[in-house]
Subunit: 359 residues, 2 copies
């Protein structure tokens, strides 16, 4: 299919989405509203994303035949999780444009290259060092001090693959883990708040950002977001713009920060995708992060994303999702149940957005 | 599947939807948000509703085997258009509850039984008479006066199956049409505005209504809705409540009125389903009509449906839908493209909602 790079993808075009989780599901619904068809490629069948997709493929991320068919059918391809193998994305990109670009994905997939990249842009990050042996870990402790946080370089999410090293007694277990995973040691930051910003850059380089959101975590998992959250929004926006441009990024990206007592911001991590801390935008009376992503990757105008409400987002973890009736009778509460069949403790099953007040 | 009538349908249950148009599509997305799975049964394949459904069946409404399979899979069944054959609905209802009930559908499917039913509730309707012959038509002209509107008793929508009789010269063509279709003659009402109300009644008999909406038609098709629209909202609500109770109705219903100079209201017609004049609710900052319907038929609390915005809804007819880029760059405009492949003049392709102001 040939088309001018500067025209938006025509309605009816097929957007391929790698990953079938709740983010994929909410992307399919946004794409549908804009007149696009969707194809969700996921490892499991009956995934949340596949429920609302025009086409569904259930196959592994190394299933070349399935991937090639997916690529050939699609007009553009995007992804809803950052752990999709870069090789998979590259093989698709030879056939059909992938947005965001594989370069951004590769940098962000490895916490060490990610943090190095951020530091190279002269943006403040938590002090860090790569560690791949007990000796390197001991050297990191000398340089960064205790406590420090040891994270696997790849495939971590929601606190998985993370360990806090408070004292020498935590060291032994950490060293034995290092035998299996390359890691990064980060100085522990006694932050005031965790805040995040969601923004998008389109195929022409236009950028839009939502206000800062404040995030509360419980057991390493996002529990609650409230936005707008005040703070140094100008600084956050500058950092977001710098990163988006440096990565030649197309689509929605999230940047998580530690906010210190003086409102300065240290980048904690980047997510090259729509993000749990942006779900509040769905009921903020403006274009939400899912539609913003679809607009960015298709070349549609990004539009005005100024929220009209302060919104509180609460994640429904495990059995929380059974409280639908209670939420449905509450004023100003909007339910987003991902429809996952099996309820497991610690599993993100849905979220609710509550309108706090008009802005 | 046995369950207590008073408990809401559990998450993960399967909602069957008869009809695959845009209304079905928007119902599937609302059902998905509430954690339900959906099955869209439509005559065509690749219909808008099927795009976002968990399961899809493409078969005729008299295909007994397909209907039985659909009914056996579903936990409840609803419909998105009132012209689904009542016999089809009855055969499903023997296996799986259909909401709204077939009784309401049967009454509303025939304009004469519909208007008679409304009049029997002591609600003001446009004066009408059944006509099935030239002699009866001439008698109707004597009783109701000219001009009058001749409508087929069944299967009319968007002005299809309607003719205005202004003088005796219009009569001849009308009489020849009467040979093929039973009809109803309605006195022409020189109304001030066309307004409508959307409301819902749940399985427990609870009722909620949105404010009145004002509708502008062009070529017998809804062009624009603006809501809230002032007018005699109390009267409209009373009429809606009376009708919902009298029909023992479950789900969303729309009532269209002619508003006269003194703000009195004459019922023009009832639609036993979500309705084009309720699309504005999607961006009004409250539970929208699609989710309200799903809540009503599943037994979830109806919630608070007070709009936070005045919203203008504009239908995208035919090639209007190609202006997506223009709409995407406008402030406060939300795009709803149904994804219909073939653009035809007079075909409803999508709509946009524009937030006018906060309330």
């Amino acid at each position: 299919m040939s088309r001018h790079e500067n025209n938006p993808l025509p309605r009816g075009s097929l957007i391929g989405i790698l990953g079938g989780g709740q983010l994929g599901q909410m992307l399919t619904m946004a794409a549908t509203r804009l007149g696009y068809r969707t194809h969700v490629y996921a490892e499991c069948s009956d995934s949340p994303g596949q429920r609302t997709a025009t086409f569904k493929t259930s196959a592994g991320y190394n299933d070349k035949a399935a991937l090639m068919q997916f690529a050939h059918m699609s007009d553009i391809v995007t992804f809803e999780f950052e752990n999709v193998p870069a090789g998979t994305v590259k093989s698709i990109d030879d056939i059909c444009p992938v947005r965001p670009k594989v370069k951004a994905l590769e940098i962000i997939q490895d916490r060490f290259t990610e943090k190095s990249f951020i530091r190279d842009q002269e943006i403040e990050v938590t002090p860090f060092m790569a560690v791949s042996s007990g000796a390197e870990l001991e050297s990191a402790i000398k340089t960064l001090g205790l406590p420090l946080v040891l994270k696997t370089r790849r495939f971590g999410y929601d606190g998985k693959g993370q360990a806090m090293i408070r004292d020498m007694s935590d060291l032994k277990a950490a060293i034995s883990d290092l035998n299996t995973h390359a890691a990064i040691a980060e100085k522990f930051i006694p932050f005031e708040r965790e805040v995040s910003i969601i923004g998008a850059r389109d195929i022409h380089g236009n950028i839009r950002t939502y206000p800062l959101a404040e995030n509360d975590h419980a057991r390493h998992m996002l529990a609650k977001t409230i936005a707008p959250a005040g703070g140094n929004a100008g600084l956050a926006r500058n950092i977001m713009e710098k990163l988006l441009d440096a990565l030649d990024y197309v689509g929605v990206m999230a940047v998580e920060f530690f906010e210190l007592a003086d409102e300065s911001l240290l980048v904690n991590e980047i997510a090259p995708r729509v993000h749990n801390s942006g779900h509040w935008t769905q009921n903020a009376g403006c274009v939400d992060q899912f539609e913003l992503h679809i607009r960015a990757i298709t070349g549609l105008p990004l539009g005005n994303i100024t929220p009209r409400f302060e919104v509180e987002m609460i994640n429904l973890i495990g059995r929380d999702v059974l409280k639908t009736s209670e939420f449905a009778s509450a004023d100003n509460v909007f339910i987003h149940d991902y429809g996952k069949k099996e309820i497991k403790p610690g599993r993100k099953m849905g979220h609710v957005n509550r309108i706090v007040r008009g802005l």
